[in-house]
Amino acid sequence: MTHAPSLSPTSAAPTTAAGFFRRFRSAPSEPHFAKRVQFSSPFLPYFFLAPQMAIIFTFFYWPSVQAIQSSFYLEDPFGFGSTFVGISNYTDVLKSTEYLGIARFTAVFTAVVTFFSLAIGLLLAVKADGVIRGNATYKTLLIWVYAIAPPVAGLMGMMLFDQHIGPLVKFVALFGWDMKVGLNYTDTATAMIIVSIWKQIPYNFIFFLSGLQGIPVSVREAALMDCRSGFRRFRTVILPLLAPTAFFLLIINTTYALFDTFGVIDVMVKDKAANNPITLVYKVYMDGFRGNDLGGSSAQSVILMIIVFVLTIFQFRFIERRVHYS
């Protein structure tokens, strides 16, 4: 680790990812000096940064500080009275077996969604990269799913898995699986995971494909002469060269599974979670926006911030070390 990336709770937000992305994009193929830009005034770079910083402060730091503050209070929703309760909002949440159950589901959900959306995205990218005839059509077909908004994907998923009319439910019934999405915890979890993975594959596909196309032809040809096994070539040559892309996608996909699947979940549980699985972020929404329990919901979002913070540190310290940028 030669340099310490600046870490803060924002690391999970797209801000760091975007910065990361910029670095990743310019790193492998372009010569290093291309990044050195001369500014005529020392203030000019800050001037360019200002709008971005203003947005981050208004929409991230300020609400975060407020969330931390209100997590120590029990507050009347209309703002008339608030009682300082110390850390009892945290202890209440962490003692709740329900909350821990949701946390466990969130961990499994995030791991499974991240793994499969990355793996399938990579597989499709490798295959699409090899296609010679009609590859534009092939790629477009794989990419355009990304244009679907998460609630719409959730809605489509819900239709596919509908307990009365869903074609996929009818299909698995042929194998004797009486799938009951919305009633059975495991069945709903399965449907949620499938829809969330499906939604994210095209995104990963785009990045992996561009990553693959950034690998110089000369390197591939050299590898081809040295080794006949396609799998081994992929593992020892292509995959290490794809590592920066993969690391970036790992962070983005973890964030996706933790936060951006909200729309999918909301539509699939039809606004009534009941005994269906939900993730931590959905629980924040349920308690805060529907239950009007601001203190408890704030405590939960602070816990989420800490989880993301720890995850990001972990990823940068232990995984990024193995990534070579040039």
């Binding site: 029990l74 009347d76 929703p77 209309f78 008339f80 919305g182 915890y185 009534k272 979670a273 005994n275």
Partner: protein, 432 residues
Amino acid sequence: MIKNITMTGLALAFSATSSFAATDITWWHGMAGRNGEVINEVAQKFNAAQTACALTPVSKGTYEEALASGIAAFRSGEQPNILQVFDAGAATIINAKGAVIPAEDLITKAGYSFDRNAFIDGVRYFYADSDGKFVGMPFNSSAPIMYINDEALKKAGVEAPKTWEEFEAIAPKLKEAGYIPLVQSQLTWQFTENFFSRNNIQFATNNNGYDSVVDTELKVTDPNLVMMFEKLKSWADQGYFAYYGAGWNDNQKMFEENKAALWIGSSGSFGGLTKTAQMPFSADFLPYWGSINGAGTSSFIGGAALFAMAGKSDAENKCVADFFQFLTSPEIQVFYHEATGYVAITKAAYEMAKKEGYYEKKPAAEVGIKQLMLPAGEWSKGYRLGFYPQIREIMEREYGRIFAGEVSVKDAFDTIEKEGNELLARFAKTAG
């Protein structure tokens, strides 16, 4: 922010068409589709009937979203004049002393007389304080009633049940005739809250929560309620009852498609059902248990009420009072009742609809009102429980587990009572 801009835009658009001297008031609600259109029509009628005030209704999405937007707006001093709040959210807004002006005070201050007895019994107490003073103005009110698939009952050769005992007797015949004997759409509202009202059983301590928020506790481990759910579970196991999850429509669908014989829905459902049901249907009261002493009382109202938000000028408050007065006039009540299926809330409006011969054409439309006009019991007036939307979520979760066979009925209610009481204790702290 975007919502605010749209709202201002809408407000401008509306005020441009009305007189410029008029006082503008806004009304945030949580109704969509046809019900949302009817609200616009009511507002247009009000704006056409007088020139002093111009009312702008704004849809904020669902009930929960309307309440959340109202709260957020209040905290930043941008609250609307009128906010629609649903039954389960009533405790949240009523216990926030100073957030609203009680409807009764508002109306009498504007120089109108207010007669509590003009309202039908079932709607009088739910949004009132423990002294009976109206805090919210009942608006769209509904009752959980039983819809009957006439074709199914004829085929099975049975009569519609009045009590759950009668249902148990006919269920095997309905099943034999090829129907699911019973479906419902909301176990919390229909089989929990209104189990307590219809069977006249205490729901929570402190007079169902009306007297105080401190130390209010649920009484959901009541043996009768446990019995009701043990029956439901055993009916489900025997094929007399089917549960399709917490979503309203997944359950209603089976009735619409002529697959179920009886469906517990809302009195407000019949308008839509007329269009979607594939067979002739009728309606009757939500059944009760004949074995429970004193059962058969009126149900709680479902739906929502309108609250006059505090912190507005006298001129605007006068307009809100004018509107509430306008809204309770028999003509408007009958219009709203017939356009939406929600019950008329005043006795005069009910008489007027009856005189028009409306119920001869649509007998199902009368069932809800009649059920709300049944003699009230000690425990059928209402409940006032904080964080109740979350308590409902706990119930939905545990009920799902009961029907998935993951927990016993007794354990489920123990969990609901424990977690529910924790929430009530938390709520008491926020209000303190």
